[in-house]
């Protein structure tokens, strides 16, 4: 698939709906190209009306604190109803690097396989399904956090893409080549400026002197002259003492970091980036001068800066940058002081359409793909290889002594969350190659532990056995529920 084959308005200007409202005729008058819809129920008219007015809807089905759990059947039905309406751009996993997107008390860490594996496995299942119905799935959006903590943006990018490279290289490339786009949430604060006329690259006009009709705008943070003069060599991944954990708080911040890895590690030419939230915070909803190297944001600079940002996307930004859905409709249009001044500029000033070249999603798609090298770790032992941090596969094995009704009564949520393989014959372990590792989750009564160990360990010493001991039906239900609650396949 080529970059110019994605179907959209070619207009980078976009708006995110308020919780329950977006005025489509107003958005059409203000010449929006994107409309972000958060779906709380079956498809409503907003998406259809937006398309009828030449706007491109992006639909995210909302689930409260989904963590890394799979997409549920109701959500799939919602996506289907929007797709049947004609919507093509879809989102699901939203800022998984933030605790507010995880069940209360759940552990989440981009460096932990227990976090990343279910998230990416479930995301791929959803993405492939979206592609199967003719839609475009998003690569999960991330909030910009550059602290090195378990919410750190770069750590999440590395964790998610590293897992996909090591475990699902070709499968992920297939998604890339069939409609994937990257969703980002660049809240850029005051990381933009317009040069003074004749003042040089590092000169910034006062906030109330900027003008969208004139040139000299900078939205390339942290690569703009002010930041690079202040902290030479800073990149979105960091690289300096002042930014040890990266600096993604810019219009292209996390997008640049993701695209660089996709191009270097997965053979990507370019795929779209759509910022499904973000922009310059509407005045009153963010700090006016988060970074004192740059002028503060005023209602005037917000208006001109926002318009300039969209025009910069069309004329200066990389071909893959498709637009921003401003956060959010009520912050712009349902204020005590009426519409923000930027609304007047939206109405007066025609958007600049983006010219998109035919860059292939995969630069080597026509030639045989080169998978990552496989390291054979234990060629002399039969069956699967040793586990290095995580296992490639999980078998669930029901001991012969177990009453299977107990399993069926208790396993639904666990199965929805983790989708393991259910085996009844341990001989299948023999088929696994030595470059794959395995955990067998053995659900058993206590009297069968020794039998299971002697059946597995002497023949396949690399297999880790994860016992779930059951004496009463409630034991199994409790253990599986606990694992689902904390998002841990193996407890």
């Amino acid at each position: 698939m080529n970059l110019n084959e994605y179907e959209w308005s070619r207009n980078p200007r976009g708006m995110h709906q308020a919780t329950f409202e977006i005025d489509i005729p107003l958005m059409a008058r203000h010449r929006m190209g994107w409309i972000k819809i958060v779906a709380l129920g079956q498809a409503n008219r907003a998406a259809a009306d937006a398309m009828a007015s030449g706007m491109t809807p992006v639909v995210r089905v909302y689930r409260e604190r989904p963590g890394n759990s799979p997409v549920d059947e109701g959500a799939y039905n919602q996506y289907r109803s929007y797709r049947e309406m004609g919507v093509k751009w879809f989102e699901y996993y939203n800022e998984p690097n933030l605790g507010v997107e995880w069940p209360q008390g759940a552990a989440y860490d981009p460096r932990s396989l227990a976090t990343i594996q279910p998230l990416m496995d479930n995301w791929m299942t959803w993405a492939e399904w979206i592609i199967s119905i003719g839609g475009y799935p998003n690569f999960p959006s991330l909030s910009d956090v550059n602290t090195g903590s378990n919410e750190d943006t770069i750590a999440w990018i590395d964790g998610m893409l590293g897992y996909l490279k090591q475990n699902h290289y070709e499968r992920f490339r297939n998604i890339i080549n069939n409609g994937l786009y990257i969703a980002t949430h660049p809240y850029i604060y005051n990381h933009f400026y317009q040069e003074r006329t004749g003042g040089g690259a590092r000169s910034a006009r006062p906030a109330d002197a900027v003008n969208v009709s004139e040139g000299g705008w900078h939205f390339e943070y942290p690569y703009d002259p002010i930041c690079q003069y202040d902290d030479p060599g800073r990149t979105v991944r960091g690289g300096t003492a002042l930014a040890p954990n990266g600096d993604t708080v810019g219009l292209l911040g996390s997008a640049s970091a993701i695209m660089a890895i996709l191009q270097a590690e997965f053979g990507v030419g370019a795929i779209p980036v759509v910022s499904t939230e973000g922009g310059i915070f509407a005045p009153g909803f963010g700090p006016p001068q988060a970074d004192n190297r740059y002028p503060p944001v005023t209602t005037h600079s917000h208006a001109h800066g926002t318009l300039a940002m969209f025009e910069w996307i069309s004329t200066v930004a990389p071909a893959w940058m498709f637009g921003v859905c401003l956060w959010k409709f009520d912050d712009y249009y349902r204020r005590e002081d009426g519409f923000l001044p930027v609304a007047g500029l939206f109405e007066q000033r025609a958007p600049i359409m983006k010219d998109v070249p035919a860059i292939p999603a995969l630069t080597d798609a026509s030639s045989p793909a080169t998978p990552p090298p496989v390291i054979v770790l234990t060629p002399d032992l039969p069956g699967p290889g040793p586990i290095h941090g995580y296992a490639d596969y999980q078998f669930v094995f029901l001991a012969p002594s177990l009453e299977t009704d107990w399993f069926f009564d208790a396993a639904e949520a666990y199965w929805d969350a983790f989708k393991p393989v259910l085996v009844v014959d341990l001989e299948f372990i023999e088929f696994l190659p030595s470059n794959k590792s395995l955990v067998v989750t053995a659900i058993t009564t206590p009297d069968m532990i020794e039998w299971i160990e002697t059946s597995i360990t002497p023949r396949w010493p690399n297999v880790f056995i994860d016992f779930i001991l059951v004496e009463q039906p409630d034991d199994l239900a409790r253990e599986l529920s606990n694992r689902v609650a904390v998002g841990r396949r193996f407890g």
């Binding site: 059947e73 199967s132 596969y393 299977t404 069926f408 666990y414 989708k419 393989v421 259910l422 009844v424």
Partner: protein, 106 residues
């Protein structure tokens, strides 16, 4: 050797397994999968039967995937849009002792 897999389309919830296929699984004990790549590990000198369960939206995708990637397997497709319907079919297979919906050699 014959290996029987029960494969569920990825977009189906676990209820299609734990509710609809409960009796069927208890009767025939197939290996349950959500990832077809796994089947490729079975040596080719074995007989492989995949009973797939999918809604009409993804059935063709699964059929094509099997034809392209696992042409040696026997495909037993079940295409239903509602959980209750597939349960009726699977339960009927148990009642008639026909794990694949037709009389088969043991």
């Amino acid at each position: 050797m014959r290996y029987h897999f029960l494969y569920f389309a990825p977009n189906l919830s676990a209820a299609w397994f734990t509710q609809a296929a409960r009796r069927y699984w208890q009767a025939y004990r197939p290996m349950v999968l959500y990832d077809l790549t796994f089947v490729a590990y079975v040596p080719l000198n074995n007989q492989i039967i995949i009973t797939s369960i999918a809604r009409s939206d993804s059935a063709a995708l699964i059929r094509d995937q099997l034809a392209q990637e696992l042409p040696h397997v026997i495909h037993d497709p079940l295409v239903y849009d509602f959980l209750d319907d597939v349960q009726l079919t699977l339960d009927a297979r148990v009642e008639t002792n026909q794990p694949f919906g037709v009389p088969v050699d043991s």
